[in-house]
C-alpha cells in the first residue's frame, strides 16, 4: 500500500442557474464518493482550501495573485488516499463527481522521505 495525493481543480462551475436542490444533490455525490473511500479505510485525510491566497516567486520574492487565469485551474482542496498502486488510485479518482462539473483530479504518488 502507498499514499496518493488527489488534487482537485475547478469542478465548481456552478452558474447562477443552478438551483439549491441541484447543488445539494451535487454535494451528496461528493460526500458519498469520499464516504465510500473512508469506509474502506483508504482515506488518510484531506481538506478544502480557502479561496484567495497569493503566490510568492522570483529572487525578489514578488507576491502576486498567481498565474491562474481561470477558476478551473485553482486547487480547491486535496485528499490523501491509500491504495495498492497507482492503477487503484486512478480507479478511485474516476469516481469523483468533479469532472461532471468541469473539474479535474490530479493523482500523484507521495514519495517516501528518507529516514
Amino acid at each position: 500500500m502507498a499514499d496518493y495525493l488527489f488534487l482537485f481543480r475547478g469542478g465548481m462551475q456552478h452558474e447562477p442557474g443552478h438551483s439549491p436542490a441541484e447543488l445539494q444533490a451535487d454535494m451528496q455525490k461528493w460526500m458519498s464518493w469520499i464516504g465510500g473511500i473512508s469506509k474502506k479505510g483508504q482515506l488518510k485525510g484531506g481538506q478544502p482550501l480557502e479561496n484567495g491566497g497569493k503566490v510568492i516567486a522570483g529572487k525578489k520574492r514578488v507576491v502576486t495573485d498567481g498565474p491562474f487565469a481561470e477558476a478551473k485551474d485553482i486547487v480547491g482542496g486535496y485528499l490523501i488516499v491509500t491504495a495498492k498502486d497507482l492503477t487503484e488510485a486512478y480507479e478511485i479518482a474516476k469516481g469523483c463527481p468533479g469532472p461532471d462539473a468541469g473539474g479535474s483530479v490530479e493523482v500523484r504518488g507521495l514519495a517516501p522521505m528518507p529516514g
Partner: protein, 434 residues
Amino acid sequence: MAIASAFPKVHMDPESAPRSPELVEHLFRHESGRMLAGLLRILGLQNFDLAEDIVQDALVRALETWRFGRVPENPAAWLMLTARNRAIDVVRRERSARRFAPDIGFQLDSEWTLVPTLDELLLDSEIRDDQLRMMFSCCHPRLAREVQMALILKILCGFGTAEIARAFLTENGAMEKRIARGKDALRETGTLYEIGSDAAIRDRLDAVLATLYLLFNEGYHGGHAELPIREELCSEAMRLLSMLLDHRAAAPPRAVALLALMCFHAARLRARADDAGCLVLLRAQERGLWDRSLIRRGVELLERAAEGDQISEFHLEAAIAAKHSLAARYEETDWRGIVLLYDLLLAVKPTPIVALNRAIAVGQVDGPEVALAALLAIPQGGLAGYPFFAAALGEMYRRAGRPKEAVEQYRSAIAQARSPAEAELFRQQLASCH
C-alpha cells in the same frame, strides 16, 4: 505515511474519519428561502438580484468546503453566517451606490450600527417574521394566482425556475417571464407587507390561505404524473401553512382547518396513483397505503379548529375528508354524514364542483337515479369541459342500467381529459360498461 506529518491538519484517525453524512432533505432549498427572506428585509426588494447572488454564494461555498466529507454541526447556522458575512461585505462595498431597505438605511450607513443591525435582523425569530411578510407580499391581490404561486416557490421554497416550470408543466421561458413579472411587481410595492398588527394580517390572510390551498391542489390534482413533484408541492404548501399557524394572529380556526384538510388529502397521496402513474379512485385505493400519522394529525387539527363560532368552507371540506379517511373500507363510508356536510358546504360555497361532489355522495345514499337528477340540475356553464362531470354522469348511467348513455359520457370525459393519467382512468371506466 511520512507525508501526513507535513500536513498536520490532515491526519485523521479512522474513528473521526468522515462517515458520508447525509444532509437533511431539502436543506439547501429551505435554507435559501430563509436566507433570501432575511436578506431582502435588509437589502430591500429593489436589490433582489444582489440578495439572490449572496444566497447562491453561500450555497456554493458550502459545497466547496463540505464536500470533503465534513458537514458543520449546525449546517443551517453555517449557511446563515456565511450569507451574513457576505452581506456585510456587500453593504460596505455598495452603500454609496445603492439604497437598501429604507427603514434601516441609516443603520447600514454607519460602521457603528452595520454589524449589530444585521445580526439582529438575521436572528431566527426575525427571519420567521420575514418569511411571513414575504408570503403575504407574494399574495398581493394585483398578482395573478399563478404568479403568486411561482413567486412563493421561487423565493420561500428555494426552487429553481426550471423546477417550477416542470411542476406546472410550463415552458422554461414562460416561467422565467412569469417570475420576472412577479418580482417587478414586488419591487414596485417597495417594502414587504407589514404584519405588525392583527388587522393587517386579517386583511390579507384569506388571500394567503387561498393561494396555499391552490398550491396544494396543484400537487394533489395537477396533471403531473411524477409523484415526487406532486409530493413536494403538497408538502411545501403544508410547511408554509404550518409556519403561518405558528403566528398567533395568523392562526384563526379556518386556517387550522385548512391544514387539517391538507393532512387528510396528503395521507392518501401515495395511494392515488398506481405503479404506472395511473389515477386510482378512492373506491379502489389500497387503504393500507394511507399515511396513518397524517390522518391522526388531521384529526387533532380538526379538533383544534372546532374552537370559535365560525364554520368555514375549510372546516366542512376537512370534515368530509375526515369521514373518508376514517372509514376502514369504502363500503363503510358514512355517506349520509357526507351528504349532510355537502349540504352545509353548498350553502357557504355554492360552486358547481361542490354540487357535483354532493351529487356523487347522494348516489351512494339514494341510488343512481336520484344522483342523475341532482347532476343534471347543476347549471352546466360552470362545469363545461370538466371531465369528472361527464365521468360522474357516466357512472350513474351505468349503475342505472343505461349503458348506452354511460358510454357516451365516458367518451366525452376521455375527450376532455387534461392529462394522460385522467384519460387512462376514464378509458378503464368505459371498459367496465361493456
